[in-house]
């Protein structure tokens, strides 16, 4: 696959990551595509608008949050536990009018990722508070599903009793202690135009069925909440990716 090139210039940003490491990533990812690559500090990048940026963050809370709050960038990839950046999957999706985020499951479970993405995209596109709240809720619910039921492979056990709630929580902690499951990735791709925002969520679980036969009728349940906030919800084969469209 060819690297999308709406711009000829890509900026690689990072906070707290040695430039030598970023240089290695740049050489590996971009050199073969003939793009100009500049190495910038994330905090110096805020005012630039003519380039696409790939923000590479560590897995500490401060790094993650700093990267998420950077306004003018197209992708954030969390480097956690020595993971390397995949050459084909992530960077090929970088294009104008889009943002990509990729997190390990543990980060999604332990940080308010949806809140930060919603803040970021709202600042970037000057969205109103109502739409920001919808984006946050939709992402929060879908990321929780992707993490708990997708990547951590936890079934939909009953949480309608105190014992059930405690058992579910114990199961989450147990699964997160499994490094193989905790390091599985969740990717959020957001594309926009003047009319809509399109959110795509992918996880590394075994998939699910979007059939309404699998939803219960309670209006406060996750999928019911999501569908009440958006124009459409659809899913590819085996539930991947989940695609959600919101009106701007």
């Amino acid at each position: 696959m060819a690297l999308a090139k709406p711009c000829q210039s890509y900026v690689l940003c990072g906070d707290g990551i040695p430039n030598l490491f970023l240089s290695d990533i740049a050489r590996n990812l971009f050199a073969c595509h003939g793009c100009e690559v500049r190495i910038e500090d994330i905090f110096k990048y805020h005012e630039q608008t003519d380039s696409l940026a790939l923000v590479v963050g560590g897995n500490t809370k401060s790094n993650s949050l700093a990267a998420l709050f950077a306004r003018s960038f197209s992708g954030y990839y969390e480097l956690a536990n020595g993971n390397e950046l995949p050459k084909d999957v992530f960077v090929n999706g970088l294009e104008k009018n889009s943002v990509i985020y990729s997190f390990v499951t543990k980060t999604v479970c332990q940080h308010s990722v949806a809140q930060h993405i919603a803040n970021n995209i709202s600042l970037k596109l000057a969205l109103n508070q109502d739409l920001q709240e919808k984006i946050e809720l939709v992402l929060h619910e879908t990321l929780a599903n992707a993490a708990l039921h997708g990547n951590l492979e936890i079934g939909h056990c009953a949480k309608d009793s105190l014992d059930g709630l405690e058992a579910f929580d114990t199961e989450v902690e147990k699964k997160l202690s499994n490094d193989g499951l905790a390091k599985r990735r969740i990717e959020v791709r957001i594309h926009w135009d003047d009319e809509i925002l399109k959110l795509k969520i992918l996880d590394q679980g075994s998939g699910f069925s979007l059939s309404k036969d699998n939803w219960d009728g309670m209006p406060w349940r996750g999928m019911n909440l999501i569908s009440s906030q958006v124009v459409s919800v659809s899913a590819g084969e085996n539930g991947q990716p989940l695609t959600i469209i919101l009106k701007r």
């Binding site: 479970c109 332990q110 308010s112 809140q115 709240e133 946050e136 809720l137 929060h140 619910e141 929780a144 949480k159 309608d160 009793s161 105190l162 709630l165 405690e166 579910f168 929580d169 209006p219 406060w220 349940r221 996750g222 909440l225 009440s228």
Partner: protein
């Protein structure tokens, strides 16, 4: 999420602050533990609650069921912003007493 409990007679007022999601289930189970004694009624002041998700809404249902099982009354008070929108959207007041 943070909470504060004030008890007077058989009624406790619980003030919730911050964000209420599945991550707060331990705190919420801790709060409900206070209602196994002589305290029967619970008013939750959620005016300072900034965000709630489906798990948080589900835990309010659980609280209502738990307190009703002890012949008590459960009330949500002063919802604001996103939390009020969620309660309105899901017609929560059909199930639980909500005082604006």
């Amino acid at each position: 999420m943070e909470y504060e409990i004030n008890t007077s007679g058989s009624t406790s007022t619980v003030t919730l602050t911050g964000r209420f999601t599945f991550a707060d289930n331990k705190i919420f189970r801790e709060i409900l533990g206070h209602f196994e004694s002589d305290v029967k009624n619970c008013t939750m002041d959620i005016g300072k609650l900034e965000f709630i998700d489906s798990a948080g809404l589900g835990m309010f249902i659980l609280a209502n069921d738990t307190i009703s099982d002890h012949d008590g009354k459960f009330v949500l008070r002063k919802p604001q912003g996103q939390v009020k929108k969620m309660l309105d959207l899901t017609r929560f007041s059909d199930i639980i007493s909500v005082e604006n």
